[in-house]
Amino acid sequence: MITAGCDIGSLTSKGVIMENGRIKAAAVISSTSNPQSSAEKVMNLAVEKAGMAMDDIDVCVGTGYGRDRIPFVQDTASEIVCHGTGARWLVPGAMTVIDIGGQDCKVIRLDAGGQVEKFITNDKCASGTGRFLEVMARVLGVSLDELGTFSAGTMSPITFASTCTVWAQADVIRHLNDGHPLEDIGAGINSAMANRVSMLVSGSKPRPEICMTGGVSKNRGVVQTLEKLLGSRIHLPRRADPQLAGAIGAALLAQKNGRGGAN
């Protein structure tokens, strides 16, 4: 059976096509202000890559902020379930999933069967979200990837006001003006981020294996500091782009529930 998952996030949209539990093709685009067109765009792209047509897809499940406005899905599921399922596939044996997306940060605890047991999401100020890093990278005038290389490895990561994303910029700018090295500031930003996330993770009584999905898991600086704060190893997805977790989960659910959808 050929299934698809379509994850329309606030910043990026992802599409995945799977056949019998294997990824045939995937696509990631940045979301437009119209979820419907984002969905069509990204799925067409995936279908193209897979060298097939939309009709070849037996079941498609949608998730993400825009899931209710995706025209071609048979069913939808919440981000939590999809990311949980996707993460378990990306990192078999994962019991605790940390997913940091553009607009929020989720910690999901799974049971042995991969069902969601407990989850927490970041309600507080946005300094624990992917957006935080994007905004900061822009202020520093470096790319997101470059920012990720500034790890606590540097001698003196600067302590930041982790209370307000945009306010923290004032501090970043001040440090720039005082001529602090970019690396130290960048490392400071990553630690602030990691610190924020670790509060959420520890609060959820994490069980090993801990894995991390979402774009931010590509940021070495954050991951390393987070491992240090949690005192345990964080497993990173190898089987596919960690950003795809939600879409993969959706595709897997589509397969599990078959045509007609869940519930």
């Binding site: 939590i80 969601v116 927490i120 999401t121 309600d123």
Partner: protein, 378 residues
């Protein structure tokens, strides 16, 4: 609001406040469930609990309150400053929590910039944080002080009989609300949380006798419904900070759940059990309002609150509890955390949400949480 049926009670209540006013009646607004409304009713003054709904800007609220303050009092001040409470003959500020008690200063100071928003009768009603003998004594002296100032200001006299009558009148409503909740039981299941909550909000506005009658008629209609109307829906209980509009509940129910019980800073918590009718009225009210309160501001009462929460969960056969607190509401926010810890340990699914008061901010995040919470339970 969506269906006329649920908008009904609150609209109806708001209208009857205006009618009361137009017929020359007096209305006094108050801010917290610790006020013995019977006292006002005995003075033939209509007690109307102040709501912060329908506010779209906080320019007045933010002028006087600092940044780290709950948005609820800010919205009330916003309404006051923009003249929406000008019909009030008086205001009673209750220091229910730190954010609310500063409404006293902020409202009066706003009066220096916005003419005519501070009624002559502006009363700070102190409420102790515990129910020891001496604090009950102090509280009853505070009730006496309120009685005297009402008599003085409104030229009325409030005798023991008036208080007794008022207590009986309010008890009648309390009994009916207790019966109303039977319709929410799993075995009957003919009343939505949205309706039930709308009715209890109406109870904080309407003249009581009118309310009792209205509630009676409403219940007749409900009892004619086919049992099991909401069977198959996830049964939620909603706990925590103030919520005086229907949005939160209606959202939970729009996702295929039914809110079968709630204990919030607003609504049924105010009603509680009956007030003793055969004893000295003031001391009876003192016990009811101080000793039987379920508000976390009564420090050190966690175990008692956990107990009553458990009982409610069992009685109403709750599937999952939604704990919510408005940002900066530390009293509910942190107690919610211990509730969650202890209830989850008993195998009762819980979810904890922090939100802003008022027109639901970023509904997306809230919906996502509740949906995932339901998926977790099914």
């Amino acid at each position: 609001m969506k269906h006329a049926t649920t908008a009904g009670p609150i609209q109806r209540a708001e209208e009857s406040v205006q009618n009361w006013k137009q017929n020359g009646g007096r209305v006094v607004g108050y801010t917290c469930s610790f006020l013995p409304v019977e006292v006002l009713s005995a003075a033939n003054v209509l007690p109307a609990r102040l709501r912060g709904t329908g506010v779209s800007q906080a320019d007045i609220g933010d002028t006087y309150f600092g940044p780290y303050i709950c948005s609820y009092p800010k919205c009330i001040l916003q309404r006051a400053g923009s003249g929406q409470f000008s019909y009030l003959d008086g205001v009673i500020i209750i220091p229910g929590c730190d954010s609310m008690r500063r409404l006293d200063e902020c409202w009066r100071k706003a009066g220096e910039d916005f003419q005519g928003i501070v009624p002559d009768f502006f009363f700070h009603f102190g409420v102790p944080h515990k129910a020891a003998d001496h604090s009950m004594a102090w509280f009853s002296s505070e009730i006496e002080r309120l009685i005297r100032s009402l008599e003085e200001h409104f030229g009325v006299s409030i005798g023991e009989d008036d208080l007794r009558k008022a207590i009986t009148l309010y008890n009648k409503g309390r009994e009916m609300i207790a019966r109303l909740n039977n319709f929410r039981k799993a075995s009957v299941n003919t009343l939505s949380g949205e309706e039930a909550f709308a009715l209890s909000v109406a109870g904080t506005l309407m003249p009581r006798d009118e309310y009792n009658q209205y509630l009676g008629e409403y219940m007749d209609e409900v009892s004619s419904r086919k049992p099991g109307l909401y069977n198959g829906k996830t049964r939620f209980m909603l706990v925590g900070s103030v919520s005086d509009d229907l949005q939160l509940i209606s959202m939970a129910e729009s996702l295929g759940g039914v809110v079968a019980a709630e204990t919030l800073c607003f609504g049924q918590r105010h009603e509680g059990d009956l007030i003793g009718e055969n004893e000295e009225p003031v001391s009876a009210m003192v016990r009811h309002y101080l000793d039987e309160s379920l508000c976390p501001r009564m420090l050190g009462g966690y175990q008692a609150r956990l107990k009553s929460l458990k009982e409610k969960i069992e009685e109403m056969e709750i599937d999952g509890v939604i704990f919510q607190n408005i940002r900066f509401c530390d009293l509910h926010g942190s107690e919610n955390a211990i509730f969650e810890r202890d209830l989850e340990a008993m195998g009762i699914p819980c979810v904890r949400i922090e939100r802003e008061y008022g027109a639901l901010a970023d509904t997306g995040r809230l919906r996502m949480r509740l949906e995932a919470f339901m998926e977790r339970m099914t």
